[in-house]
């Protein structure tokens, strides 16, 4: 495989500029490159990078690249931002408390976090969770109402599923609570 004489070895040199551009034409190339204001292809505007926002240097956004349909791009981004922005507020009631509270389930990453938050909110202590015995031994038991309208024990199902099916929370107290923790 022979390259034609005109093509000098420079073109195979590992650089991050556009193929066929040299040092002098690089500046010219950068003005015709369609880039979003915030970021630039790493080589083309190395000097611009100091006043960029905190974008990691290798990440670049070129208009229309990668070539995927806007619809697909938007739906991937929606999935990400949905999780980030939309918030999932559910009512929380506690037996004996005069009024209800609301928590945003989306801000928690798992059960320990949300249970801690509830403990702080209502000033009580939840016992340790075990699959076999629920929250056996504690005076308070966290439960939730799912999409089917059933009252379930918090902690049985995977976190994602819980977040998607939980309609409201209820902190049960006393004997009622202990009944729920029993294994038949």
């Amino acid at each position: 495989m022979t390259f034609e004489k005109d093509l000098n070895i420079d073109v195979t040199e590992l650089r991050l500029g556009l193929p066929g551009t040299s040092e002098e034409s690089e500046r010219q190339a950068s003005t015709t490159l369609r880039i979003s204001n915030k970021r630039a292809l790493p080589s083309v505007a190395a000097e611009k990078q100091c006043d960029q926002e905190t974008a990691p240097p290798t990440k670049a956004q070129v208009v229309g690249w990668p070539p995927i349909r806007s619809y697909r791009k938007n739906s991937l981004q929606t999935k990400k931002t949905e999780v980030e922005t939309s918030g999932m507020y559910v009512k929380v009631s506690m037996d004996g408390a005069p009024y209800l509270r609301k928590v945003d389930l989306k801000i928690y990453k798992g059960y320990p976090e949300v249970l801690k938050a509830l403990e702080d909110m209502f000033k009580f202590k939840i016992g340790k969770y075990s699959e076999r015995e629920g929250y056996n031994g504690s005076e308070f038991v966290p439960t939730y109402e799912d999409k089917d309208g059933d009252w379930m024990l918090v902690g049985d199902v995977p976190w994602e599923m819980f977040v998607n099916s939980c309609k409201r929370l209820r902190i049960m107290k006393g004997s009622e609570a202990r009944g729920l923790g029993c294994v038949v």
Binding site: M1, L33, P66, I68, N164
Partner: protein
């Protein structure tokens, strides 16, 4: 009868009706076009008997001329905006409006029954007019279109009494919430295919259930995200005859009653060959669909962002008969290895990026592709978004799979060389075009010099569509392609150093092609003007989004975007201000 007296010419031994009957068996557009060129009599017969027309570029002819040419038109396929519009390279309002076509066909009382559109601007007004003007209208397929709302869909539902197919693929639809589904009258029982997966809004679930219940011919049903798991279960009970299913939301508690019901319902659906959706998904619910996997020929999980590699591979283990697989790159190279060892019938593979903007994170590399090429000898169509590619891998793939018709490779960093050798990927793509003699469509990426175009011009003799980005060194590259690829129909180029010399070398070539797109290249306004002047059969359009007007732009200045196409009707009348028609 349209064709007057039946004069028998010596050569013609058959009366016209017999010829017409014979022509009925000729279905390909190319062949029918050839038939109409044989002689005047054949032209006439073919003209009046033609029912299906394909227009790859809606601006190549006017609605009025189309109707005059084929008065018996029943089925029309129209494509509007250039392909790169899918990637936001074409500004809004560029064109591609459906309305004038509907208006003209309605006026001439065309008996339209089927309409398939791609990248067109479809207004509610046009959908309403369509629904009111064609009493036998049966099928509407919209792909990558925009401009309409669910109100337009409501008109279609309400007025098209014999509607069989409503298929919406990846359109941007303004959703006014779910009442449109309720507009299907109780008397509508003819639905065969309903796909509303791309709608973002709520759906009237009860209406949906009733609609499915009264559609015994329903074979294809693709739901949107707003349709929950338990509705899916009820729908499957009503439609066990489905061949193609797209789920909406697929999240539930696997120990629940609803889940068990779904499992049972799915097991009854033993005609399902095509599965998609899972727009939101709980991995633990996937086992419910294992029973239908063994018969699947098409599986599209490219929107199922909630499934990770291990779930995907568990699922794929069951899909031995798969012919087409669309998947996200989180499947990983190892997962593609499972595809390779399981799916021996695989013909088409599409691997999409799950995180398009994080070029460092694409989970598949050249290894996955090599594995698939080794395990799936029938592979003929590829769309592969990856982190990196090597020449060695491409050469291996070319050796293993010589049947490629479509080969589209997208390395997320568009100018990345072979990471092992630091060489451009010229040799790798060269091997592909040399080995795959039937290659019709090719998309390139990675670091590429003029050499790759030398190979393409030399070997890609059947190539019809070529997409190039950030490649090449000089005009030579583009010239190799224009001179060598005799069957080239569509050429789209962005960010390449190709300029006036290449553009103007063989102007007649463009008359043999559908279109040429060049953006952020080295082409000047002056050269475009020369081309436009010399070739009246071409429309040369410049898209200029800067402040400058036509008058203070120097001929020597480079154009942002140029789109040229052959046409029978000259300049279009609907171009916006930022499109200059030279």
């Amino acid at each position: 009868m349209f064709w007057g007296s039946r004069k028998t010419i010596d050569m013609n031994y058959f009366p016209d009706e017999v010829l017409e009957h014979v022509f009925d068996f000729i279905t390909s557009h190319k062949d029918r076009n050839s038939v109409s060129l044989v002689c005047k009599s054949w032209y006439k017969i073919e003209k009046y008997s033609r029912q299906r027309v394909f227009l790859g570029n809606c601006y190549s002819i006017s609605p009025e001329r189309l109707i005059a040419r084929f008065p018996g038109l029943k089925s029309l396929i129209l494509k509007g905006k250039p392909h790169f519009a899918d990637f936001n390279l074409v500004p809004d309002d560029w064109g591609g409006f459906l309305y004038p076509w509907i208006k003209a066909m309605a006026k001439s009382r065309i008996g339209l029954e089927e309409l398939r559109l791609k990248r067109m601007v479809v207004s509610d007004e046009s959908l309403e007019l369509l629904s009111e003007s064609f009493p036998n209208f049966k099928s509407l397929v919209l792909v990558s279109c925009e401009g309409f709302t669910t109100d337009g869909l409501a008109a279609i539902a309400a007025n098209c009494r014999f509607l069989r197919e409503l298929d919406l693929q990846e359109n941007e639809v303004e959703d006014h919430r779910g009442y449109w589904l309720s507009c299907f009258p109780g008397s509508c029982t003819s639905l065969v295919s309903l796909n509303f997966a791309c709608l973002k809004g709520e759906i009237n679930l009860a209406s949906l259930e009733r609609l499915v219940a009264r559609s015994p011919n329903l074979k294809s049903l693709r739901l949107n995200r707003a349709v929950p798991f338990d509705t899916l279960q009820r729908l499957l009970i009503r439609a066990p005859q489905l061949v193609d299913l797209g789920t909406g939301s697929y999240i539930h508690d696997p120990s629940s009653e609803a889940y068990n019901k779904l499992k049972a319902a799915i097991q009854n659906c033993n005609s399902i060959r095509s599965l998609s959706g899972f727009l939101e998904v709980a991995p633990c619910c996937m086992p419910a669909i294992y029973p239908i996997c063994e018969n699947l020929t098409f599986l599209n999980l490219s929107y199922a962002a909630g499934l990770q590699s291990n779930e995907l591979t568990r699922l794929i283990h069951h899909c031995r008969k798969l012919q087409r697989l669309w998947i996200l790159d989180c499947i990983g190279d190892k997962g593609l290895g499972v595809v390779a060892s399981t799916c021996k019938e695989l013909q088409e593979l599409r691997v999409f990026p799950s995180d398009p903007f994080d070029a460092g994170n694409a989970a598949v590399t050249e290894e996955g592709l090599v594995l698939v090429s080794e395990g799936c000898p029938k592979l003929n169509s590829l769309l592969y978004f990856c982190q990196q590619m090597t020449n060695a891998a491409l050469i291996t793939v070319a050796k293993n799979c010589t049947n490629f018709i479509r080969f589209r490779l997208c390395i997320l960093d568009p100018i990345k060389p072979d990471p092992v050798t630091n060489q451009p990927l010229d040799e790798g793509f060269g091997a592909i075009v040399r080995s795959c003699k039937g290659l019709k469509r090719l998309s390139l990426s990675g670091l590429l010099t003029d050499q790759v175009f030398y190979y393409i011009g030399m070997y890609a003799k059947k190539l019809e569509m070529l997409s190039i980005a950030f490649a090449g060194n000089s005009d030579k590259g583009m010239l190799y392609v224009l001179n060598g690829c005799k069957k080239l129909r569509k050429l789209e180029i962005r960010d390449c150093p190709f300029g006036d010399t290449a553009l103007l070398e063989d102007m007649g070539k463009y008359e043999t092609m559908r279109s040429l797109w060049m953006s952020t290249c080295e082409v000047t306004l002056g050269a475009c003007k020369v081309l436009a002047k010399k070739m009246p059969s071409l429309n040369v359009e410049i898209i200029n989004e800067s402040e400058q007007t036509e008058f203070n732009l120097d001929d020597r200045q480079k154009v942002d975007k140029m789109y040229l196409y052959r046409t029978l009707v000259g300049h279009r009348k609907d171009a916006p201000e930022f499109v200059w028609l030279l």
